[in-house]
């Protein structure tokens, strides 16, 4: 099997209240995606808050267990917390990048500590110089260096540098899959592109697969190969990124695209909300029909509903 990651009809249901409670929240319903080992790509999951994209990411990272379905990494079920050696081997291959770089590092501790720990833990090296070399190598890949970052506290670096350092930390152990959860939403606009371009470089030059989670369609268009749009836990449209974003078919996907503010025609205030589409989406939500995914011609899948 050359499948690197296989998410197979995964559900996640949270039960609220006590043992006898009936209340539940379906965070993810029937999610399906797979990544092939020899085709590094940037796979984007797009959704708004409450869409289930973060829950799905957490399940892939092994931080949550699916309620039904399974997630296979390299042919084996993703080990969740506390499975010892298997979990360790898994973490060496799959690493996260978090949204807020200033939160991702302990403000009271130096930044290189985490890189050193990753090196020692996953590369099995303990010699001081070997660890430094590994850190420097990873930092060079993101355009930084140990000289710049070593001995610094998080507040001494900019948001962009810090996020790149976080990516470098994830790269120290040479993982095959990087899960980036909204990596640029908290980074200043002038520094954002450096990181987005970096993700592209990771795919092109280092053969790292990236699952890029975002709500920003524009950056998704810029770097993704494939894309999956989620709404309220369900996949509504999935497939080749450019094709879908150029002409989305599902009403929600069309609504998202219509709501994106663009800088074209600046000063002329194109602010009319897409009322028609909003109405259509509300109708569909009210009907409560789950619909089903149907494959299209250009390799995409769209959720369609019975009339």
């Amino acid at each position: 099997m050359t499948a690197l990651l296989d998410v197979d009809h995964v559900d996640k249901r949270y039960v609220l209240g006590g043992v006898l409670s009936r209340e539940h929240v379906d965070a993810v319903i029937d999610a399906d995606l797979s990544l092939q080992r020899d085709e590094p790509e940037i796979f984007t999951i797009i959704g708004e808050s409450g869409s289930g994209k973060t829950t799905l990411a957490r399940m892939i990272l092994g931080l949550e267990t699916p309620t039904s379905g399974q997630i296979l990494f390299d042919g084996e079920v993703v080990p969740t917390r506390g499975s010892g050696k298997k979990r360790h081997a898994f973490m060496a291959q799959v690493q996260p990048v978090f949204q807020n770089p200033f939160e991702a590092f302990n403000p009271l501790k130096r930044v290189d500590r985490y890189l050193a720990s990753t090196a020692r833990s996953f590369l099995g090296i303990s010699d001081h110089t070997a660890v430094d070399a590994a850190m420097d190598q990873a930092l060079q890949k993101v355009g930084l260096s140990l000289a710049e970052v070593g001995g610094r506290y998080p507040h001494e670096l900019s948001g962009g540098q810090l996020q790149r350092a976080a990516i470098a930390r994830a790269l120290v152990c040479n993982p095959s899959l990087l899960i980036a959860d909204e990596p640029v939403s908290m980074v200043d606009a002038s520094l954002r592109m450096a990181i987005v371009n970096l993700l592209k470089t990771l795919r092109d030059e280092l053969d790292v697969h990236v699952i890029y989670i975002t709500h920003d369609l524009a950056t998704a268009y810029y770097i993704s190969d494939r894309i999956m749009i989620m709404q309220k836990g369900r996949v509504v449209e999935a497939g080749p990124a450019r094709a879908i974003l150029d002409s989305p078919q599902h009403p929600y996907a069309r609504l998202l695209k219509a709501s994106v503010l663009s800088a074209e025609d600046a000063g002329h205030g194109r602010l009319t909300p897409a009322a028609e589409l909003m109405r259509e989406c509300n109708e569909l939500a009210k009907r409560g029909d789950a619909g089903k995914l149907v494959s299209g011609t250009d390799g995409r899948q769209v959720r369609v509903y019975s009339r």
Binding site: P107, T118, Y153
Partner: protein, 285 residues
Amino acid sequence: MISIVRDLIRYNIEFAIGLVLTTIIVIFACLSFFSPVNPNLVYTAIPDQPPSWQYWFGTNSRGQEMFWQLSFAFRNTLSFGVTVALISRVISIFVGLLSGYLGGWVDRILMFVNDIFVAIPIFPILILFYFVMRSNLNSFTLALVMACFGWPFDARLIRSVALGLRHREFTRQAVFAGMSPIKIMLEEHLPYVMPIIFATAMANMIWSIGLEVTLAVLGFTNINIPTVGTTLYWANNHSALVVGVWWWILIPVIILVMMFLGLFLLAVSLNEYIDPRSRLRRMGV
């Protein structure tokens, strides 16, 4: 280290005063190492002498020089208080961090034990220990027993901080950086817990010393060991105030108040200094 102390002295008046007071008491207590008098002997001096140039703190009805007596008393009391505070801090940090970070059944069991210790009334237990051990009850054993009762409240406080820290993103990143739970607890989370440690150590010391004094005054400890409590016991025993030997009670009480004040000021100012928020401000965040 020196520069930190220097900064604190210069800019934090509470720290300066606290340091002065505490240093005076500590020096006073350390003088006992050079005492020419054996504190366990009685009638080595003329009894009931008021403070004078010969006897700085006067003498008590048992014929002991108050100055040396109190020096030993404060040395024992201070070391007692510090021992209790230290041991109970260690237990509460351990329990609080483990329970907050690991959660699950570890948390449940530890908090169950915690609540038991909160519910057990300490006073009867201490008296029980006294009756069982009598004159074998030395300061260290008493300290140990008190330490076992001094940790529950603080463990819960620490646990609540640890619970909050568990969900912060740097904890998750630390996990993916391969840090073991122990390393995370001790290196990532402990700095956030330190302010609580300091504040509660102070409260703990006041509590334990107060309890010791109470037990001693009532005669439920080994009254042959000179401590602040036993001094007051003997003073009571000899009806010091009635007889007019006021310096036997007043002087130890004054020094005790000075000590508490000094420790309190130190704890408050150090606490403010090591609080992560103030540390971040100083670092220039």
